[in-house]
Structures are given as C-alpha cells and as structure tokens.
C-alpha cells in the first residue's frame, strides 16, 4: 500500500468533503531583505498541504528548506506572500486561535514558574485563576511534573522544560497542534519517551497534528502521513506517503518492524536526493 504521489496528490484530503482542520493552498513565502529591497529569498513556493481532523501529519525535509516558515504561516504568525490558509473551512486572519504551537527553541517565560507558564494561556483567555490553576496542576501531573510546579524554567532540565511546553500547549485543548522539531534538542532516550508520551496524549484526544521534523525515523514512527519537502530555496512538497503501521505504536519498537524499514527505504529514496541538493547549495553559499 505504498503511495508516492506528486505535488497535486497533496490536494486529495482537502477534497474529502469534510473541511480539513488545516489547509494551506498555494502558499508562497518570499522574504525581502530589509537593507536591500532587491535581495529576495523565496523560502517556500506554491505549497498545498492539508491535515484532516484527528490526523497526524509530518512534514520532512532537508535543513533550511522552510519547514518552520510553513508552520509559522499555519499558526498565523507569518502572512504568506501568496496563497491562503483555511482553518476548519474558515479563512485564517491573524493568529490561528484554534492551534497550539510547540516551538523548537525555549518558549517558556523564564520569569514564570512551570505552573504559571502552563496557566498562562488560560489566564490570557480570561479563565478564573482558581480554575486555571487546577487545570494547570492536572496537566503538569499528566506530563509527569506533578511536583515541579513551583520551579522556574532554569531549574528544570531540558526534557522537563519540553514537557512543560507540551502541557502549556495542550492545556488549552487546541483543535490543531503545530510542532516544530519539538524534540530536536533532547537526547535520544528522553526523546523517545517524549515521543511516546505525545502519541499517547494524541491518541486520547485525536487532534489534528502538523509535525515538522528533519528526522525521518521520528516522522514515520509517529505519523499517519508523511510529506516530503524539496530542498530550499522555493521548497515545495515532492512526495507523500501514507504510514499504515498499526497503532498504538511504541516509537522504539516500531522502528525494527519490516514495514517500517520498507517505508523508510521508500521515503529515503525520495528525500536523499533533496538532502544532497540542500547540502550542495549550502556549501556553495558558504
């Protein structure tokens, strides 16, 4: 059941009747240098991508291909130069309020304790303090940080900070979860634990997930579908694979199944050329 389709194939899930949780249509992002208006850089060109409600979609691509740009467009933090974004059928204007965003780098407010960080979103949205506190405590417990609520971010380890970020994002119960290489800074063991935790939480709530990574193993182990981006500049989707591994999965165990290895090989064949291309371009620019 291997599916490897071209760019147009990504459209299919948008046409499935029910509105996609998140649909990017023909998104192009061109950055103009502030000092020199003639210096342009097109990060992504004509990207069409859709996530169905409850679907775990990964986008994989070589480094510097504009994966984070796509995510920022989906979050409403960045306005695309061309193209549209639809959230559950509604055109997106401003911040995507139905989405939660887990960043690649540290995003916790360093002046707030773990508990206050988790509470922040509820507080911003006007929830009563007592209720927000109770829900924050509940989520801290769920990510295994029950006793660490009064710690400041600098007193937590990298993995604990990521878990706090996860709780901070999920406590708002977003319909769409955007993740930008959330575990890339973690060591392998912590990373696998976190991946399994995320899968478990996702399985319980079945939210639409748009997961960005450069790690193919991670993408296959976690997703329902993997989209490959070409090397930048002007990155675009060049392949799409449905991951038909059975759930629930354990990210460490699934990696040794024959089906995983087949999928990995098929996707890597497409990705490999792009990785090499991206690498050659970076070398040329240096």
């Amino acid at each position: 059941m291997r599916e490897a389709r071209g760019v147009s194939g990504a459209n299919r899930s948008t046409g499935d009747g029910a509105a996609a949780a998140l649909a990017l249509d023909g998104v192009t992002c061109t950055f103009v240098s502030r000092d020199d208006r003639s210096q342009r850089y097109t990060a992504v060109r004509d990207v069409t991508l859709a996530t169905a409600p409850g679907e775990f979609l990964s986008v994989v691509g070589p480094t510097g291909c504009g994966k984070s740009t796509l995510l920022n467009v989906a979050a409403g933090l960045l306005e695309p130069s061309a193209g549209t974004v639809h959230v559950f059928g509604q055109p997106l204007t401003g911040i995507n309020t139905r989405a939660g965003y887990m960043f690649q780098t540290e995003a916790l407010m360093p002046w707030r304790t773990a508990r206050d960080n988790v509470m922040a979103g509820l507080e911003f949205r006007g929830a009563p303090k007592a209720e927000a506190g109770a829900r924050a405590d509940e989520w801290l417990k769920r990510v295994g940080l029950g006793g660490f609520g009064d710690r400041f971010p600098h007193q937590l380890s990298g993995g604990m900070r990521k878990r706090t970020s996860l709780a901070q994002t999920l406590v708002l119960d977003p319909d769409i979860i955007l993740m930008d290489e959330p575990f890339s800074a973690l060591d392998v063991q912590t990373r696998q634990l976190m991946e399994n935790e995320v899968l478990e939480l996702w399985a319980a709530k079945k939210k639409a997930v748009l997961f960005i990574t450069h790690d193919l193993d991670e993408a296959i182990a976690m997703s329902d579908r993997v989209v490959i981006l070409s090397a930048g500049p002007a990155a675009r989707p060049i392949g799409e694979f449905t991951i038909d591994l059975s759930r629930p999965r354990d990210v460490a165990e699934v990696r040794v199944t024959p089906r995983f290895i087949d999928l990995h090989k098929a996707i890597w064949d497409v990705l490999r050329a792009e990785v090499l291309k991206g690498y050659a371009q970076q070398k040329l620019a240096a």
């Binding site: 933090l77 939660g100 995003a107 360093p110």
Partner: protein, 275 residues
C-alpha cells in the same frame, strides 16, 4: 596562630576589618600633632588641618548620632530625595523606554534628542533646577531624576528589544492580547534589565541628592558638608563623607536584598551543595 588567621573565606570579614583599621591607624599616625616629626608641612598641626584627625572625626559622628542627635533630620532629607529621585526616574525611564521600544517611528524621531540629552553633563543643570524648583527637596529630586532616568531608559529599551522572539510568538499563540503582551512579556523582560542596573541607578539617585544639596540647600548631609567647608572644619567634612559612604553601603545592601527577592527566576551559577 597564623594558620588560624591566614586569609580564607572564614576569616574574610576579619581581614576586611583589619584593612579598615590599618587605614585609620595610618591616618591617625600621620595627622596626630606631635606624634611623628613633620616632614611635609612646616608645623605639626598642619597635617591635621588639611586631612582631619580620625579621633575628632569619630567624636563628631558620635555627637551627631548619640549626643546631639541632629544628623537624623539631615539623613532623612537625603534619603527622601534619593528615594523620590529613584522612584520617579525609574517610572519615567520605564514608561518612556517601553513606549519608544514598542513604537519604532517615535524612537526614530526622538533618537538624536535622547542621545543629546544623555551626553549633556547634567550636573550643570543643578543651579537651574534650584532656580526653578527652589532650595527644597524638589530641585534635588529633579537632578537625581535626570541621572536615574537615562540609566533606566536605556536598560528598558534594550530589555524590550531583546525579548526572545520565541517567547513572544509563544505568548501570542497562547492568546495574549497586545495589553497582555505588554504586561506579561515586555514588562517582566524589561524589569530584569532595570534590576540589573538597580545598583547603578540607586547610586546615581544618591549622587544627585548629595550634589544638589551641596550646590544649595538648607538641609541634608550635603548641606552639613558645605557648611563645614565654609568654616574650614575639615573634621566635620570628613565625618560627613564617612556617614555618606556608610549610608551608600546600606542602600546598596538594601537594593541587593530586594534584587535577590525579585529576581529569583534568574539562574545563578553554582547552586549545588556538598554533602
């Protein structure tokens, strides 16, 4: 005996006190009339005239604090001026700094003026403030304000500019409105920079108060020093300077305590304990 006394973290305070004692002993030996033959001056009273005598200075301080008890009102005035200048300077710097940092157009327009005002030697303004605000505490607060304002202003400006873009984006994704961003992201980030300059700005508020008093006033420790200088009473001048120094140390210590309490979210190196 030496093993017990040699410099070590344990005996740090002792050594610090010994340095202080040695300085005063040297001072005493050099200025006490008749103790050693004069080698710089023509007669043995001149050293005491120019440099003061530690014993008389301490007697003067003792008089101020215990016998006559007349220093308290002066200290109170100086403290009040310092605190007011610090308060208004900090609030002014915080508000203007946040405003300019968050509106690039205003910042671009005011940039040359801010730079000009900052590079101007502001102590020169003290006589003008005395004319405008009188010889009371208002003119000293105004002088201290001009000193504190720019320190806080530049720190706040920097603090707002250096807010982590990720933290900002994260707060926006969590649903923060513009006002909430101001209160929950920009302000805490800016205050951390303000606190890092707290020691400097309290010190400058103090300098503003004392210099202002010195240039024209009817109360305050600066005024006491000015009066004593007028009558060549070097012992009182020195006593005033010592009191001011001790006072500045106390202020600095108080600031350190406040800072430690408010900045507990910032990482400090070496928080381990040996078991």
């Amino acid at each position: 005996m030496w093993n017990f006394l040699k410099p070590a973290p344990r005996t740090l305070r002792l050594w610090q006190l010994m340095v202080l004692f040695a300085v005063f002993l040297f001072w005493y030996a050099m200025t006490k009339p008749g103790l050693i033959p004069p080698f710089m001056f023509e007669n043995d009273r001149q050293a005491a005239f120019f440099f003061g005598e530690p014993v008389s200075i301490f007697a003067r301080i003792w008089d101020w604090f215990v016998i006559d008890r007349d220093i308290y009102q002066h200290l109170w005035v100086t403290l009040l001026e310092t605190v007011l200048a610090f308060f208004f300077g900090t609030v002014g710097g915080l508000v203007i700094g946040m405003w300019l940092a968050l509106s690039p157009v205003a910042a671009a327009i005011f940039d040359p003026y801010i730079k000009a005002l900052n590079s101007m030697p502001r102590v020169i303004l003290a006589p003008i403030f005395a004319v405008w605000f009188g010889l009371g505490i208002a003119s000293k607060v105004a002088l201290g304000f001009t000193l504190v304002f720019f320190i806080v202003f530049f720190n706040v400006y920097q603090g707002v500019k250096e807010v982590s873009p990720t933290v900002l984006a994260s707060a926006r994704m969590l649903g923060a409105t513009q006002n909430q961003l101001l209160r929950h992201v920009y302000l805490p980030s800016a205050t951390s920079w303000v606190f890092s300059s707290l020691h400097t700005s309290v010190g400058l508020a103090f300098v503003g108060a004392v210099v202002g008093e010195y240039l024209g006033s009817s109360r305050g420790v600066g005024y006491l020093i000015l009066q004593a200088e007028g009558s060549f009473d070097i012992n009182t001048v020195m006593a005033g300077i010592l009191v001011l120094t001790a006072f500045a140390l106390v202020l600095d210590w108080a600031v350190g305590r406040v800072e430690k309490h408010l900045m507990k979210w910032q990482p400090r190196a070496g928080e381990t304990e040996k078991i």
